[in-house]
């Protein structure tokens, strides 16, 4: 191949589709070319969506094996130049939400009106098909969002729950890892905590102990999430004490 215009190699480079020589040549070029550098970042972000589209649930053994292996791996030294933090992070800390007292959860029954629930149900039936298609994709968007913030909670029996929130997308994802299966005929139900009023955010799959769930509905003003054990099909409001409460990251 002639030394053609290296700018046109951004796509092949982002897809790891260059052989070693060409990759080295392209990298030498892009080191001094802002346009190529920027385009590669954007095309890699697009390629990452192709990866997110084929997400799988790893077996729990993968995690234990990786956690075991890292204890024997020396990490590369941190960079000495500290990265500037965006100023708005500091501002956000002020808006950190309080913990909602657990007693408020019981009071949630007062707020969750039946009419609202029935409306939800109708909407749910209508949207179910479309949503299941969209869900995975929205889930991917939340995980890949530049403003994605996370918090992890330790649950019973060594399980963990991680919440990922994108303020920009106004959506949240709950990732359960190693959760005990719910009792027969029961499901885990997710709730948004709107200042003590619990808003259903959908059900987890009772057959899976590791699952990433796109929480149903916008985050809006919710300050956290709760997980309760409910009868199959879910409840209009929590009928049991939460097995987990996770405050959203500020």
């Amino acid at each position: 191949m002639r030394t053609a215009d290296p700018h046109t190699l951004t796509g092949a480079y982002a897809l790891h589709a260059l052989d070693d020589d060409e990759r080295a040549r392209f990298e030498a070029h892009s080191a001094d070319c802002d346009a190529c550098t920027q385009e590669v970042l954007e095309l890699r972000a697009a390629a990452a969506r192709l990866a997110l589209a084929v997400t799988v649930s790893p077996a729990p053994e993968l995690k234990s094996e990786v956690m075991r292996r890292i204890t024997a791996v020396r990490q590369d030294a941190p960079r000495t130049i500290p990265l500037a933090r965006p100023g708005r992070l500091a501002a956000r800390a002020h808006r950190m939400s309080r913990w909602v007292p657990a007693a408020c959860l019981a009071a949630a029954a007062l707020f969750g009106g039946v009419a609202v629930w029935q409306h939800d149900r109708a909407e749910e039936a209508q949207d179910r098909a479309r949503r299941s298609e969209r869900q995975g994709d929205e889930l991917a968007s939340v995980l890949a969002a530049p403003d994605a913030r996370t918090r992890t909670a330790k649950l019973a029996d060594g399980a963990t729950g991680t919440v990922v929130v994108s303020k920009g997308l106004d959506r949240a994802v709950f990732i359960a890892s190693g959760m005990a299966a719910p009792p027969d005929g029961k499901v885990y139900q997710l709730w948004f905590d709107d200042g003590g009023s619990m808003r259903s955010a959908g059900l987890m799959d009772p057959g899976r102990t590791d699952e990433a769930v796109l929480m149903r509905g916008p985050v809006d003003k919710a300050s956290g999430l709760g997980v309760t054990v409910e009868p199959a099909g879910g409840s209009t409001e929590p009928t049991s004490a939460p097995v987990a409460l996770v405050d959203f990251p500020a």
Partner: protein, 194 residues
């Protein structure tokens, strides 16, 4: 309500993914466990798609996740999200694996693979049918046939653009261009930013 688990009362323990990476870079294994929960599924997914063999995929995915731990200090937030960083690494390592396997495998086998030209359509179709995500599928459909075939063969099969050109009997320059304008179209359709 004693069984309720409360965490993160301390504002210092409120990481976003880049902050989590910074903690991982400082050797915090709990932060790494939290990061793992977010990135392991997508990472294994793309490795499995490229490598295809189950046992080898697990191996590569493990190596990728350990590498994330080892090189966490190299992550630079201004160069994209943590997820993109991990998935770029995962795809790179998956591609490294299939190319090294191919390099050590009989050359004839490889030639035979590339000879089975009719297969590519099928492969592309299968890949598409198995895609879980409607928006990605929809956006792939906005690409021209050639763009779509080039991008999916390169990304999901880990082929170089030379191999894609060989497989599709197209000039190198054409494939190079299709990979770029195909990805640009995908980027615009998905509305992704770096």
């Amino acid at each position: 309500m004693k069984e309720a688990v409360e965490i993160g009362k301390n504002p210092a323990a409120e990481p976003n993914l880049p902050d989590l990476m910074a903690e991982v870079a400082r050797g915090d294994t709990e932060a790494f466990a939290a990061l793992y929960d977010v990135v392991a599924g997508p990472a294994l997914g793309i490795v499995r798609r490229v490598v295809r063999d189950g046992a080898q995929s697990e191996e590569v995915a493990q190596e990728v996740l350990v590498e994330v731990w080892r090189t966490a200090a190299r992550y630079r937030p201004e160069r994209g999200s943590v997820m993109n960083w991990v998935l770029t690494l995962a795809h790179q390592r998956a591609v490294d694996r299939v190319r090294s396997v191919e390099a050590s495998a009989a050359r004839e086998q490889r030639a035979a693979l590339l000879d089975r030209t009719p297969e590519f359509d099928e492969v592309t179709e299968q890949v598409e049918a198995r895609l879980e995500h409607e928006q990605v599928r929809r956006c792939l459909r906005t690409l021209t046939e050639l763009q779509r075939q080039s991008v999916t063969l390169a990304y999901y099969r880990g082929l170089t653009y030379r191999e894609v050109a060989e497989l599709l009997s197209l000039p190198l320059g054409t494939v190079k261009t299709r990979l770029r304008d195909g990805l640009i179209r995908l980027r615009d359709c998905l509305g992704v930013a770096a």
